[in-house]
Symmetry: C2
Subunit: 216 residues, 2 copies
Amino acid sequence: MVDIFLPNGRESHLEVSEQILNVANKLFAERGYEGTSLSAIADEVGIRKPSLLYHYSSKDTLRQAVLARLMEHWQSVLPRILEAATSGDDRFESLVGEVVNFFAEDLDRARLLYREILDRPEELRDQMRAFLSPWLTILADYIRNGKQDGSVRPDIDPEAYILSVIQMIVGGLATNNVFGALFDGTDAPIERQAAELTRIARASLFTSEYLAKRYT
Amino acid sequence: MVDIFLPNGRESHLEVSEQILNVANKLFAERGYEGTSLSAIADEVGIRKPSLLYHYSSKDTLRQAVLARLMEHWQSVLPRILEAATSGDDRFESLVGEVVNFFAEDLDRARLLYREILDRPEELRDQMRAFLSPWLTILADYIRNGKQDGSVRPDIDPEAYILSVIQMIVGGLATNNVFGALFDGTDAPIERQAAELTRIARASLFTSEYLAKRYT
DNA sequence: CCTACCGATCGGTAGG
DNA sequence: CCTACCGATCGGTAGG
């Protein structure tokens, strides 16, 4: 824990093990796990590969640490997200907005998560179950209640809807630099895509009667 | 071009270069480009690595050939898709259905495409522009017309909507084995997810007035 | 935190 | 289509 200028030019006031985590997160997201060497990570941190292996005893250990930190971060914002979903005036916008913000504020989160899903589906399926199931159930029940009182469309498939919307948000942001580049203009495609994602999620959830009452 | 039993047990009646393409497509989709060695591909085909390099002079050449074949295949079904989009009675279902079918009939297509987008965004952005722009323009105009006659929701962002739906379909199918496993039951999650994706796309596009007239 | 080093595997070539 | 082989790089270890 020293304040020095690193070879890469950035001043550091972070523990080395945390710097390693940050660099690994970035490179794994950009180039993938198999496409990133331990030397490349060590270089960008400003240490040698054996020094890296002192902090994380293997490449797989480092990968798990990066993924675990993402999941912990996600869990730390979960209470706020769930509160947004079940109270307040514009709860739907708040809910989707919180999820969008979490991934939009660091697109590498979306890219890393998507890569892990493609690389290790069995492991991620278990992780997603652990970190998503609690509020998947809550939200699905919430949607079913909405069907009863007529605010939610009757032909919706609650679980499939929620998972599709999550996937649409994460995937849409992870691929924003490709799909967003197909827009006419060249300006601010993230906000534009995020806005349309929110609109799609809202319009496909609520009945027009409810929307007319709420949003006019 | 001989009919023999390969070491891997599958009878072959394909040109070797086509077998290589098939195996490479599968392994690139499953493990990624960096996670797949030329030896692994050659082994599964039943030849040696230098023989593979006779057909494709480098690993990158092979990657480009795999991607090119996917794009050509996509272009070959494009006319049918565009026809479905602009004629017939239930044109919307046909359009989305064709896109869903293309990727659902071989999930490795979706996985490969998504991996390429993450691995090489600049290259894929150009490819997507070439293979998507022609009908992105057509469909966007079509949606704008729908705004005029009241069949399409006025607050839609045509380009962002189309690209979001494409991403939702490709991403939803590429990650189906992970997200689909979170459903209650264990049966047929692809059809269930595909059905909900179609519903979301439809409900977020049309006005309720138009849907009431069309689907009752 | 480092230097020095390990066996294994990588993409690719020579030559037939 | 093969065997034999190349330099480079991989993840990881020994030892300080």
